[in-house]
Symmetry: C2
Subunit: 355 residues, 2 copies
């Protein structure tokens, strides 16, 4: 069946794969819903957006994305409450961030009306893939890639914007152990670290694999110049609780301006928890770990929401973090989930209902 | 027609596009030859390599290359002499470098026998696309991309290695004007700058576009920490001639170990030209430009061979470089071309004949 909304032409899938999916055993990012959103940029403008059955697509081997990494993405989620209503969390932030990322990579901005119309239509069509229950969600992946078939090292003139969706359970289950970067780094001053640029992620895989061989799950990146300041993890911003004060690094051109991070900073204010946004020295956190004032460390990001960090290592010194009884990590996680799943009041207007 | 070499299964194109190509008006990287080489990595090993007609291919929208930038490449050339013999220039260096790049991005190494067998068969099939005459060449683009359909931020388990070829004339014709980076940067200490990783290139497009708006062709990148040392250009290493001494930055984890660069360092030794490989301060080069001792600046890379730099700007100060009568740039270019095109003796064994 095909039909048309204000801007989008829609081809509905004739069948659904949903019955073949075990929603209690989901591997993150491997199963996709029945539909996807596609819009091509050509001749200086975005062409007619389309929703179509999820499917493989044809690309020229010379498509610039394969050679020069012009590719940016977002990660967001749709949540379902117990009445079956579907919500997004601060989606305008994702929309603005993908365009900011695109600008840094010389890619064209995507129109806001296409973004939200596409997203809402997609969520309507694939509504059954969004399961209610805290922790269940539909992970939404908007991305843009350079498709122009030409291998000169310059910005492409043809792009594809897409949204694909994958049902998700909670990302990390147990507390993670992290290694603090001493040699490798994630991004440079004046680089693309603040963009959700594809190349930033591949760059982390090798150092992360070395850390994993030593028994750590992830790396906390430090500044590339001196490796003395704690910045962020691979897909999470990081918070430190020293006594009853939270500390997190300021965003910069090296650090992603995470939506979970900025929500936590706001929630801390609401809850009367002091949160310092300032450069965080590795030495300061080690000292706090030694004198017992370091109560908690946690990561914050859309995929994991809050991920408790139970240990960190720096220069061969390992620190176990016992965790606090009145856990801030758990408090923020619950507060965020309650907002996201329409359980609690939403005084900042962060929820956006999908009609 | 299909047949088989030792390792490769070959499907020959039924027709050729060559007659539709104007070889006197080639846009770099837009026209491709009749065949391509493809080899997939699955189940922990490289599968049977294939040569097939050049064509678009199918990819899942969730292929990791689109999301996390796991993509590396090489750039090399085939040259034809006046008797129609075809040569590669130090191809083993490219082979080793693509595997080094791959390792840094947690991608599997490609086997040497597949690489060279594939390349030689491809060049045999597309021999007519290689035109004789200095400056004409066949640009060869080996690349590897992550194809696994799964959007978790970790190394893929499926990859595709490909070689595509595009006929080329000389890349830059006239001297280029460059801007010295003061704010933006190309790579971080402990980052992936030394790898030919796709994401490194997209990261340069936006700052380069700003430079272009000011009338410059390219940027010379400086160290991201202090922006006081000259490193390399977007696709070229850079040499400075002060009086009769050449200076070029040492390679590092931020700078690509260019094959043209290392060939020039060797040729300088052969020719009795002093070449210092050491960190190069921006201030030192500005001072040399002011006192008249800066004779030449040039870029070195496979695409352009040698590209003379006629002006550079740093902190609003513009320096025109008049160029020397006994140009080293021209000398090295001619010496390299003579070796590449089988005109002169090849005492270092850099040429590799394609049978
Ligand atoms: C590098 C990086 N840092 C932090 C985050 C967290 O950002 P957000 O809270 O917007 O998901 C992400 C993405 O999820 C990320 O990729
Ligand atoms: C960043 C960069 N620097 C330098 C070079 C020059 O290297 P080569 O002489 O091996 O072509 C290249 C590629 O050609 C490059 O991409």
């Amino acid at each position: 069946m095909t039909y048309q909304t204000a801007n989008i032409s829609i081809e509905k899938s004739e069948s659904t794969k949903i019955n073949s999916v075990d929603f209690s055993k989901l591997d993150f990012g491997k199963v996709f819903t029945d539909h996807m959103f596609v819009c091509d940029f050509e001749n200086g403008e975005w062409q007619e957006p389309k929703i179509m059955p999820y499917q493989a697509m044809t690309f020229e081997p010379s498509a610039r994305v394969f050679h020069y990494g012009q590719a940016v993405f977002e990660g967001m989620k749709a949540y379902k409450d117990h009445e079956g209503k579907v919500f997004l969390f601060r989606p305008k932030q994702n929309f603005e961030r993908i365009n900011k990322s695109a600008e840094r990579l010389s890619m064209p901005a995507f129109p806001e009306n296409y973004f939200f119309e596409g997203l809402e239509e997609l969520l309507k069509l694939d509504n059954d893939w969004i399961k209610p229950g805290l922790g269940n969600s539909l992970y939404i992946r908007p991305f843009v890639i350079a498709t122009e078939p030409a291998i000169s090292a310059s910005p492409a003139s043809m792009y594809r914007f897409m949204i694909i969706c994958s049902p998700a359970q909670s990302y990390y289950n147990s507390p993670v152990r992290v290694l603090v970067a001493e040699h490798y780094s994630r991004s440079a001053n004046g680089g693309v670290g603040a963009a959700k640029a594809a190349g930033n992620y591949a760059a982390q895989f090798y150092p992360t694999s070395l850390a994993q061989k030593e028994g750590f799950h992830q790396i906390i990146w430090t500044d590339a110049d001196t490796h003395t300041y704690l910045e962020e993890a691979g897909t999470m911003n990081v918070f430190f609780r020293v006594n009853d004060t939270l500390i997190t690094a300021p965003v910069s051109d090296r650090i992603l301006d995470g939506i979970t991070r900025k929500s936590i900073i706001q929630l801390a204010e609401d809850l009367g928890i002091k949160c310092d946004v300032r450069p965080v020295k590795v030495e300061e956190i080690k000292k706090a770990a030694k004198d017992g004032s370091l109560k908690e460390v946690f990561g914050a990001g859309t995929a994991a929401v809050i991920s408790e960090i139970s240990a960190f290592q720096h220069k061969e010194e390992l620190f176990e973090i016992s965790g606090a009884e009145d856990s801030y990590a758990k408090l923020f996680k619950q507060t965020l989930l309650n907002i996201q799943y329409n359980v609690s009041e939403d005084k900042h207007g962060w929820r956006r209902a999908v009609k």
